[in-house]
């Protein structure tokens, strides 16, 4: 069991990079360059280590793999316990894959305090990977909350005009949700006497406590997700964060909420999850329709994508709480594809923002004349966000809707209307930015993608098409774990019915 600690290495390798950056000396110019290269190589090395996870992953079992377990606080049964299963493994890869791209995307844009910037990103990577690979609830919480610190600094220092407001809003919204999660965590710790997740997954939490704990979990994960009506921090944070910050925020941090629902709410509190499913459906449907309408009215590209993220996350929550195999797999797949697509869309916005320093849709137009490569790249991701068959976005939404249709046709119907609206606002934005006449004088000199940017986009394009055309490698990783999750969920509900009948 105790073989090579590959997960620990993935988690803490970025911190070694931080150490090197801290030791870098020299004048501003050289130290900035060294910091950039150190961050890039560290994050690439981390990614390579994490690929090892996928290669050696055994898709036949629902058990946790690459497990590491050490005593941490024995008196309280708290462990340093790591491991991944089919649900979490791909999120680890998503985090490690996006970080080097973020470093590259910030290569030229970030000119001030480069060292601090790179340190913040590497620490953030540690926190993200740690969140997805923790098998101890307290350890999970430490990483989950710890990600707030670097993100707060990233938005606040390198953000746009209202960065202070946005950074505070982001931090305080998330923290408020999280302290309620902390209360639930303490209660479970008290009830079960341990914070070890595999133990907790087999622990029956008393039925009368489940609704309260569920609400506390919900407070945290719904804010993180974000679900309507607690999504308001997201557009602010996205708009003000630097491009790479938005990428990580949309690509990975939002997924922590969905992952939390999958790892904690559903398997640990099955009775309450069943009970609250209508609430989730309602909020998700509202999120899909309402935020899509709001997105239609946006004048700011980043804000538009931010609202579309809320809508897409609505699909994820519907999928998870359909508690069907299709729905859950679709939810996970949707999170992964959204992680790639929205990250890429924010990078697309970053490309023109770096050149023109504005995100106003009306300030652009006719870019296809000067930037044909950019137009192609943008189109691929835009269509991915719309959910065109052949892109990753389609598979996720399709599976979710399939799952939803099995349990509740109305939800499926209303959610589908969101896809139509999504196509509307995305195509509308694309038309206004890329097509039309190139009229503005300052756009006449705009340059097409440079090699560095092509290097950033190429892997993302491959991923989106791969996920759309051949999703099997991704889905088969999840299969065993999702089936196991479903099995336990149905068993828990079934046992309730039996006792219910005998009482009658």
């Amino acid at each position: 069991m105790q073989s090579f600690p590959v997960l620990s290495l993935t988690i803490f390798l970025p911190l070694i990079g931080v150490l090197f950056i801290l030791l870098v000396r020299g004048n501003d110019e050289t130290s900035a360059r060294n910091a950039r290269y150190t961050a890039l190589w560290t994050s690439i090395a981390t990614f390579i280590v994490s690929i090892f996870l996928w290669i050696n992953f055994d898709i036949g079992t629902a058990d946790f793999q690459f497990v590491e377990k050490h005593q941490w606080v024995p008196a309280y049964q708290i462990y340093y316990h790591l491991g991944v299963d089919g649900i979490s493994m791909l999120f680890v890869l998503l985090s490690t894959a996006l970080t080097p791209l973020c470093v590259l995307a910030s290569w030229k844009v970030i000119k001030e305090r480069v060292r601090e910037y790179m340190i913040a990103f590497l620490i953030l990577e540690t926190m993200m990977v740690g969140t997805f690979s923790s098998l101890d609830f307290l350890l999970f919480y430490v990483f989950f909350e710890g990600s707030l610190i670097p993100m707060f600094i990233i938005i606040g220092v390198w953000g746009g005009g209202r960065r202070v407001y946005s950074a505070f809003k982001f931090f305080l919204f998330t923290l408020t949700g999280s302290v309620l999660l902390l209360v639930a965590l303490m209660t479970i710790h008290f009830q079960a006497g341990t914070t070890d997740i595999p133990t907790l997954l087999n622990f029956d939490i008393p039925a009368e406590m489940q609704p309260w704990l569920w609400i506390a979990f919900f407070a945290s994960f719904a804010v993180k997700m974000p679900m309507w009506p607690v999504h308001t921090w997201l557009p602010d944070a996205h708009v003000e964060a630097p491009t790479a910050g938005s990428v990580i925020l949309a690509g990975v941090l939002l997924k922590m909420g969905g992952y939390g629902f999958l790892r904690f709410s559903l398997p640990m509190l099955p009775l309450a999850s069943e009970q609250f499913t209508p609430l989730i459906y309602t909020l998700s449907v509202i999120a899909i329709i309402y935020t899509s309408l709001v997105a239609l009215a946006q004048e700011d590209m980043k804000k538009l994508i931010a609202y579309s993220s809320v809508a897409h996350m609505g699909f994820v929550t519907i999928g998870i709480f359909t508690s069907t195999v299709y729905g859950i797999q679709g939810g996970i797949f949707q999170m992964l594809s959204h992680g790639v697509i929205s990250a890429a869309l924010f990078l697309c916005v970053g490309v023109v923002y770096d050149r023109m320093h504005t995100r106003e849709i009306s300030r652009y137009g006719g870019l296809i004349e000067r930037m044909p490569k950019y137009a192609v790249v943008f189109m691929i991701f835009m269509l991915g966000a719309v959910g065109l068959p052949g892109t990753g976005g389609f598979i996720g939404e399709f599976l979710v809707l399939l799952g939803a249709f099995q349990v509740n046709t109305w939800v499926a119907l209303l959610a589908t209307s969101g896809i139509v609206l999504g196509a509307a606002y995305m195509l509308f934005m694309y038309r206004r930015v890329i097509f039309g006449q190139l009229e503005r004088a300052d756009l006449k000199g705009i340059m097409d993608l440079e090699p560095r940017e092509i290097v950033i986009f190429a892997p993302l394009i491959i991923l989106v098409l791969w996920m759309g055309l051949w999703p099997q490698p991704f889905l088969q990783v999840m299969d065993a774990s999702v089936l196991n999750l479903m099995q336990n969920y149905q068993d828990a509900l079934g046992s309730l019915d039996v006792t219910g009948l005998s009482n009658r």
Partner: protein
């Protein structure tokens, strides 16, 4: 009992008392230019006392007709007190020499205060408790006013003295009530008397007495509603003294409160639990909201310490072994964070003059990135954000409260911690997000940089030493629950 066996138990106290008196004689003959020597000798004395405490007896032992107790709990407390006092004295020295506080009495008064605190945490009788508190308080009153030419400092000393005397009076009154209704002052006798409930005709008198004692001790830990002196005294006193006030006396008084409530008055748990719950909620929320509008960093630290004491009281309100263990852990973490923060505050000076306005920290990250990282670590830790030390303090305190099914208290407390996160974040925001002001002095002295670096490393990587600290706290706490 043989007097020699008694003396063996009080080696650390004896060491401090005798050295303080001899240092006083040296100072009296050599005058103010011996301050530096005396300070360093005091630091050594406290180091030796700390060693003696650690090497002291492992099993609980009583001395002087059960007035004095030495157990793992008192040892743990004394180590915390001595570490806090030593570190503050180390960074006080350059400050005092620079700011014109050359009096050699400074380290000696501090030694006497420490002696008083060590007596407090070792008290096993209401009379011994009172003696310890008075020895500590009288030294602290003088220390608050030690800068004789500053009106603010004098005001701080006077205010502290008047209100402190009032609280001592309340304490004595409470003690007489308890004595009158139970006929004993020794903790062991009181514990025995209350162990299987109190007779109805005694109950009211004893309860009133306990509440009075509790109020007086709440004054010493500056818990709401007995906190009014704290911001003024913190602001007026010289900064190293403020640091000292916020650390050692708080720890000593809190641990004394824990012993008094859990040992002699453990049988009256039902009576005092709700009072402690109220004080905890009031301190946490008041500390969080009142700090938001502060502009002076020392006043802000005063409100922050009020809030922290509220969190510690949550652990006490649980009244369990786990609760006491959490209290000890929290106070340990609090010690590291506060020493570090005050070291950072002492580094805030421009043209050799102290700067206390929070706004002056704007853009600090550009002028002094290292200090900024340290102060950021302390601020996030105080806000209770993992993986820093403050989070674990809060986690175990509230975990104990949950175990005792104090759900309302926990939820209110954690929401208050979100509010308090706001003003800690404000400092981080000023340092990182805002444009730079005039630079602070580059030279901050090697004592301060060493302490800052050390404390920030401890705070940042506390996650690694959590287990050993918690283990020691468990051993210390279990000696109260024998």
């Amino acid at each position: 009992m043989d007097i020699l066996t008694d003396i063996k138990l009080i080696w650390p106290e004896l060491c401090i008392a005798l050295s303080a008196m001899s240092l006083l004689m040296i100072g009296a003959f050599k005058g103010d230019n011996s301050t530096k020597t005396i300070t360093w000798m005091s630091i050594c004395v406290m180091g030796i006392a700390c060693l003696l405490v650690i090497l002291g007896p492992e099993t609980p032992s009583l001395a002087f007709n059960n007035l004095f107790v030495v157990d793992q709990f008192s040892n743990y407390s004394k180590v915390l007190i001595l570490i806090g006092a030593t570190l503050t004295l180390i960074f006080a020295l350059p400050f005092n020499l620079r700011e014109g506080i050359p009096q050699f009495e400074f380290p000696i008064l501090l030694l006497f205060a420490v002696l008083g605190m060590m007596m407090m945490v070792s008290a096993n009788d209401l009379i011994a408790l009172y003696l310890g508190i008075e020895l500590q308080s009288l030294s602290l009153y003088v220390l608050a006013a030690i800068r004789r030419d500053s009106i603010k400092s004098a005001e701080a000393g006077l205010k502290y003295f008047v209100l402190g005397a009032l609280s001592s009076g309340i304490l004595l009154y409470g003690m007489t009530m308890v004595y009158g209704f139970s006929g004993a002052t020794g903790f062991n006798e009181l514990e025995l008397a209350f162990s299987d409930g109190v007779a109805n005709n005694q109950l009211i008198g004893v309860t009133v007495g306990v509440i009075f004692i509790l109020c007086a001790l709440a004054f010493k830990v500056s818990a709401v509603p007995f906190h009014m002196w704290t911001p003024d005294v913190y602001e007026g006193a010289p900064t190293p003294i403020t640091a000292f006030f916020s650390i050692a006396p708080k720890i000593a008084a809190m641990l004394l409160l824990a012993r008094v409530l859990l040992e002699p008055f453990g049988g009256l748990f039902v009576q005092w639990q709700q009072v402690i719950c109220f004080i905890a909620i009031a301190s946490m929320t008041f500390g969080a909201f009142a700090a938001i509008n502060q502009t002076n960093i020392k006043r802000l630290m005063a409100y922050s310490s009020i809030g922290h004491m509220g969190f510690v009281l949550v652990g006490l309100a649980a009244g369990t072994l786990a609760g006491l263990q959490a209290v000890l852990l929290y106070l340990t973490v609090y010690l590291f964070m506060n020493v570090g923060t005050f070291a950072c505050i002492l580094a805030m000076k421009r043209d050799d003059r102290m700067v206390e306005e929070i706004n002056q920290l704007a853009g600090y990250s550009r002028t002094n990135p290292r200090m900024t990282i340290a102060l950021t670590i302390f601020m996030f830790s105080m806000a209770g954000i993992p993986p820093l030390a403050g989070f674990f303090g809060k986690y175990f305190v509230f975990k104990a409260a949950i175990d005792a099914e104090l759900y309302t208290l926990t939820v209110i407390g954690l929401l208050a911690s979100v509010v308090s996160a706001f003003y800690y974040l404000r400092i981080v925001k000023l340092m990182y997000f805002d444009e730079a002001m005039d630079e602070f002095d580059k030279s901050i002295g090697k004592e301060i940089s060493l302490i800052t670096v050390g404390m920030s490393i401890v705070t940042a990587f506390f996650i690694i030493i959590l287990w050993p600290v918690l283990d020691n706290a468990a051993i210390a706490a279990s000696s109260i629950f024998l």
